[in-house]
């Protein structure tokens, strides 16, 4: 196991501007350092405004950090070099429909990353797009579809396809499961677990659902007001939480203990 991602003193400030005066500095994320190993899953939890989405966006490159460095396999990532980053780190957004271009077909959108990051010819690119669509449980026919013609689960699958099409090492998901229906959510979680198994992807996801975290995360990072509160393996944090907040976040739900049913087959 090698460290695929290392984060040192990552910081993010915003300037809240009022009128002509220089703005007030607002700290969204205080210096934070952590690392992630290949094939591991990291869950980031916290309340609203705790900076958990900021971390995801900084790692994926959607925002530029105010300070600090991100190293991928020991190599520093330049915050303005999207090409270097997108071959290794990809992002899945919360709202699948909003993160897809409404005026462009699914195939063209999936072609985009290939167009800018590979020097393959047209046939190879098309073949790869169709292969990726199959991998996420869609059909080759979906190539010509526009996002609004798909159901919410299929839209999320397209987003996942876009995330894995360049065979990245890390996928970042910002609340990717919230907007989905329960039966579809389970399908998407299964899909992500399968992909992780097949492609050895490290997975970072932001969520507030304790159940999903317990199910898929290896490590948990708890945030509060832009500060790291606790970081550790899932086992340790569930069995032996050091902070009150951790306990609250991880045990807030699941009041019913119900027998499992083995009658339903996948």
């Amino acid at each position: 196991m090698s460290k695929v991602l290392e984060v040192f003193d990552l910081t993010k400030y915003y300037y809240h501007k009022t009128g002509w005066l220089p703005g007030k500095k607002i700290c969204a994320l205080e210096p934070i350092s952590f690392s992630l190993e290949r094939g591991e899953t990291l869950a980031i939890m916290g309340e609203t405004g705790s900076g958990k989405s900021t971390i995801a966006k900084l790692i994926a490159g959607a925002e530029v950090p105010s300070n600090g460095d991100i190293f991928l396999n020991g190599q520093r990532l330049d915050p303005h070099n999207y090409r270097q980053r997108c071959q290794n780190i990809r992002m899945i957004f919360q709202d699948a429909l909003r993160s897809l271009n409404p005026e462009t077909s699914v195939g063209t959108q999936l072609m985009e990353p290939l167009h800018f990051n590979t020097d393959w010819d047209q046939d190879k690119k098309t073949g790869h797009v169709i292969e990726t669509l199959r991998k996420v449980g869609l059909l080759a026919d979906h190539y010509d579809f526009y996002p609004h013609m798909l159901s919410s689960g299929q839209q999320q699958r397209v987003c996942i396809a876009r995330a894995i099409i360049l065979e990245p090492q890390i996928v970042v998901a910002d609340e990717a499961f919230v907007a989905l229906d329960p039966s579809i959510r389970a399908q998407i979680i299964n899909l992500i677990l399968d992909l992780q198994h097949d492609m050895e992807i490290s997975f970072i996801f932001v969520t507030h659902s304790a159940e999903i975290v317990k199910h898929i995360a290896d490590k948990i990072l708890i945030m509060h007001h832009g500060r790291l509160v606790e970081f550790g393996t899932t086992d340790a944090l569930i069995k032996n939480p050091q902070q009150e907040l951790t306990k609250n976040l991880l045990h807030a739900e699941s009041k019913h203990n119900v027998l499992t049913h083995s009658t339903i087959q996948e």
Binding site: G153, S183, A186, L193, H256, V258, L259, I264, E266
Partner: protein, 331 residues
């Protein structure tokens, strides 16, 4: 006694591709003081049902029902004005995004005072203002807002989601409704806030004998205080019954699937595949005939192209030809 009694309610919507039956022969009974949770994924018509009960009816909808009774009133037979009167007096609703249902240009206090009905205030018109203010403060306290002056002076956008939801609950209970419909009241909230709102609703129901129809997407949102649950899929009733019984012994395959996907049990192996229904929720234009779960159901067989009748098993009622548990057909 059932205060709300719905039998075989169907709603058809006219679309460009012909009429679509969004709600298909749905039955629902609600007893006085009961919390009933209605569970349905998107496209199940659960919000439409709430609108039909409250009478927010679009002329393009065709509503038919064997029975749509609220207490002693037949809601479908009432005139528009009468219906509004009954609804306005006895029912209230809270929504998913409270922030967007409050008037952004008026203070919270103003809106709350407006919702206090004048009819049950003591005193003359001269003392009215004071009475209303007192009642509004009382309402704030009942929903668990202690700092009423600060909240009543602020505008809706200044409030957090949780507080805004509490305010909208306060407005909803201002005229002491007999039925509160809560349409996904906590979907957008954090777990801790969610728990607070649920506790509040449960308390209100227990204290005032107010019935609550809780509409949610997810079995995890079913609160322990909820006496009965109903599962709806694509406008068809799948299973209904006392919460404990349904959770312990689901009969309908859909209930089983929802239970095993939604409630992660502590003994599920981490990173194992979750059991789930395959396929996607059908769109309005492509509803399957018969039992609408058919194409996704693991137990589906040929008979499923006919809609199964509602059958009973112990205290549940369910609609399925091939239930998970052997049910004596004479029952």
């Amino acid at each position: 006694m059932n205060i709300l009694d719905i039998r075989n309610l169907s709603i058809e919507i006219e679309t460009s591709g012909g009429p679509v039956r969004v709600i298909d022969k749905l039955s629902l009974q609600l007893a006085e003081g009961e919390i009933h949770t209605l569970i349905g994924e998107s496209g199940s018509g659960k919000s439409l049902l709430a609108k039909a009960i409250l009478g927010f009816i679009n002329p393009r909808w065709k509503i038919t029902a064997d029975r749509l009774w609220w207490r002693q009133y037949d809601l479908l037979a009432l005139s528009r004005a009468q219906r509004r009167q009954v609804t306005g007096r006895d029912m209230a609703m809270i929504f998913q995004n409270p922030g967007s249902y409050l008037d952004p240009n008026t203070t919270v206090g103003e809106q709350l005072r407006e919702s206090v009905p004048a009819r049950d205030l003591p005193g003359t018109i001269l003392t009215r203002r004071k009475q209303v203010q007192k009642r509004a403060e009382e309402l704030m306290h009942r929903v668990g807002i202690k700092d009423h002056d600060a909240i009543m002076g602020s505008y809706p956008f200044e409030l957090s989601d949780g507080v805004a939801q509490k305010v909208s609950i306060a407005m909803a209970i201002a005229h002491r409704p007999k039925l509160l419909i809560a349409d996904e009241p906590t979907t957008a909230m954090e777990p801790s806030m969610r728990a607070q709102i649920y506790r509040l609703l449960a308390k209100l129901s227990a204290g005032d004998g107010m019935s609550i129809l809780m509409i949610t997407q997810d079995l995890t949102a079913v609160i322990p205080e909820s006496q009965r649950i109903s599962l709806v899929y694509c406008g068809q009733l799948m299973e209904t019954g006392p919460t404990e019984d349904v959770m312990r012994e689901p009969v309908q395959p859909y209930t089983g699937a929802m239970l095993s996907t939604s409630l992660f049990n502590s003994d599920t192996e981490p990173k194992s595949r979750l059991p789930t229904l395959s396929g996607a929720i059908p769109t309005l234009q492509h509803m399957p005939i018969g039992c609408r779960l058919g194409p996704r159901c693991p137990n589906a067989r040929r008979a499923c192209i006919e809609q199964p009748p509602l059958r009973s098993y112990k205290k549940h009622q369910f609609a399925c030809h091939y239930p998970l548990i052997e049910v004596d057909s004479h029952e």
